[in-house]
């Protein structure tokens, strides 16, 4: 990947100005525009599954942005968790519940103008804030500044406490999910044992059922069964 970065442009910003961007900054902007476009399509498309698939494009583009900022590890984690798991779970849920091929008319919300206003307002606030906060700050993106070693050292030296707190939070969520999925405290009829197939079995074993059902030959058949069992 370092070769790709080198091909994209010099890592040290030669002239620190907005007006003479390096190749890397241009690529960053272009990918950013693509991500924005994919995100807009995600919320405007009328087909639910297409929305989820455009989300894949948007999140993948974000991974590329992390890569361009030399944060390799974060980029791969983004791919592993968001593309490989979260989107797949979203698709899974959509397909299990409702995902007709073609348009879903009820996917339109009456609140979309309010939502648009809120989105524009929050985006405006964030952009103003970030631009104002980092206007004249430059970070030298030397190769390897976001490598696994550096990330690991930062994470387990300076940020151990938040990391552990997050682990506890996730563990609590996991336990909560298990508890929620095990509803009903007995009493609601026979519970299926997890992990077993629910093959339909006769209510009683065949040997005891047959004498009760038969009339003439039942005694001998029952006797035969009984001897067989002994």
């Amino acid at each position: 990947m370092s070769a790709l970065l080198a091909a994209a442009g010099s890592l040290e910003p030669a002239a620190r100005s907005f007006l003479s961007p390096t190749g890397q900054e241009i690529v960053f902007l272009l990918v950013g525009i693509a991500v924005l476009g994919a995100a807009v399509v995600t919320v405007t498309t009328r087909q639910l599954v297409h929305a989820a698939l455009w989300l894949v494009v948007a999140l993948g583009g974000l991974a590329v942005e992390f890569l361009l900022l030399t944060a390799e590890f974060i980029a791969w984690v983004q791919v592993l968790i968001y593309l490989g798991s979260v989107v797949v779970l979203v698709l899974f849920g959509l397909m299990l519940t409702r995902a007709p091929i073609g348009r879903s008319p009820d996917a339109d919300s009456g609140n979309r103008w309010v939502a648009l206003a809120v989105a524009v307002a929050s985006a405006g606030t964030l952009v103003t804030l970030v631009v104002d906060a980092f206007r004249s700050t430059w970070i030298d993106l030397g190769a390897g500044a976001g490598s696994t070693r550096v990330t690991g050292e930062y994470l387990f030296r300076y940020w151990v406490l938040p990391f552990e707190a997050l682990s506890v939070l996730l563990l609590a969520a996991l336990v909560g999910a298990i508890v929620l999925s095990r509803t009903g405290k007995g009493g609601r009829g026979p519970r299926l044992r997890p992990g077993r197939t629910t093959t339909v079995r006769p209510a009683r074993p065949a040997s005891s059922a047959r004498p009760a059902a038969g009339a003439g030959t039942s005694a001998s058949a029952g006797a035969a069964d009984a001897t067989k069992e002994r």
Binding site: A6, F73, W76, V87, V88, L91, R196
Partner: protein
């Protein structure tokens, strides 16, 4: 490392990607023919039916490319590419020999490989949904469930090796390898290889494509070249999983003698593992869906966790 070098490496990987899966496919034909006494694949072309694969290719190429009327056209046509491309990208990062004999040395190699392989599931989901067919949809969902379940033991087993080597870079792990890692990491190797087999949906883990109940799962509606692309992704997957197991657990280019022939050792071990994959297909019956899930959650994951604990204890004891 300049642009030309990068380009050359990419072309080399592409050639490998186009050749090795076909070799595996041909091997599978022959091995199955011998083990099960199948006479069909032994005729085409004369000696041992060497032309069977060519005949298969011609057959796939001349079949009509059908898209069902009710299908979501673009997603349907895109799905085979989404299923195939991750394996091509993963091949970039698998080291074959020492001294930079690798497509592209990725810093967080294990993470990269497992993350990109996880995208392949999107292809099956897209195929299953876009076919506009309830059996395909069920097959796609089964595939997704299986792949999500088996990703966890795979990650845990890989984490154990990374812990042992103290690095997540694939060449770094092979560099740190000693022969006694093989007994030490044996459980992890078993878990990784088995979970990898399940990720490929190969027998005995081919529940999602079970031809007896949901008729080739997500791929029912695919014909001709698009179906061939799905098959190709399966064979490319065999190469990738065997190669990864070689690199992580069997010491990659380390052999009994002459490390300068390292790439040969890697290839030999990879082919031996690929042979085992084919062997398992020939000899094992298919698992049932619930057995499949139970195997992942009650056998593989505890084993992987045990391996992780063992690795940690020995690592602390050594240092």
């Amino acid at each position: 490392m300049n642009l030309l070098d990068t380009l050359l490496r990419c072309v080399a990987i592409l050639v490998v990607f186009l050749v090795l899966p076909l070799v595996i496919g041909q091997t599978e034909h022959k091995v199955m023919a011998h083990m099960q006494g199948r006479l069909g694949p032994m005729y085409a072309g004369g000696f041992h039916g060497w032309a069977q694969l060519v005949a298969d290719g011609v057959k796939f190429a001349q079949k009509e490319d059908v898209v069902p009327v009710g299908a979501d056209r673009r997603v349907f046509q895109l799905a085979p590419a989404v299923a195939l491309l991750p394996y091509l990208v993963v091949l970039l990062a698998i080291p074959v020999g020492p001294n930079g004999f690798v497509g592209q040395a990725v810093d967080a190699g294990i993470f990269f490989v497992l993350a990109v392989m996880g995208i392949g599931v999107l292809g099956s989901l897209m195929a299953g949904w876009a076919s506009a067919n309830k059996f395909s949809l069920l097959g796609g969902l089964r595939t997704a469930a299986q792949l999500m379940s088996y990703e966890l033991p795979m990650l845990l087993a890989a984490a154990s090796v990374a812990m042992a080597a103290g690095t997540v870079s694939l060449p770094g792990i092979v560099d740190a390898f000693h022969w006694w890692w093989i007994p030490w990491q044996a459980i992890g190797a078993f878990v990784f290889f088995t979970a990898g087999l399940a990720e490929l949906q190969r027998p005995p883990f081919d529940m999602p494509v079970a031809d007896s109940e949901i008729i080739f799962g997500a791929y029912t509606e695919y014909t001709g070249l698009r179906f061939a692309l799905f098959l190709l992704s399966e064979y490319a997957g065999i190469v990738v999983v065997s190669g990864l197991t070689t690199v992580l657990f069997l010491g990659g280019w380390h052999g009994p003698f002459s490390d300068s022939l390292g790439w040969l050792w890697t290839l030999l071990k990879t082919f031996a593992l690929a042979f085992v994959v084919i062997w398992l297909r020939v000899t094992y019956p298919r698992l049932r869906e619930d057995q499949l899930m139970r195997f992942a959650w009650t056998v593989l994951i505890p084993l992987a966790l045990a391996q992780l604990a063992l690795t940690g204890i020995i690592k602390v004891a050594i240092s």
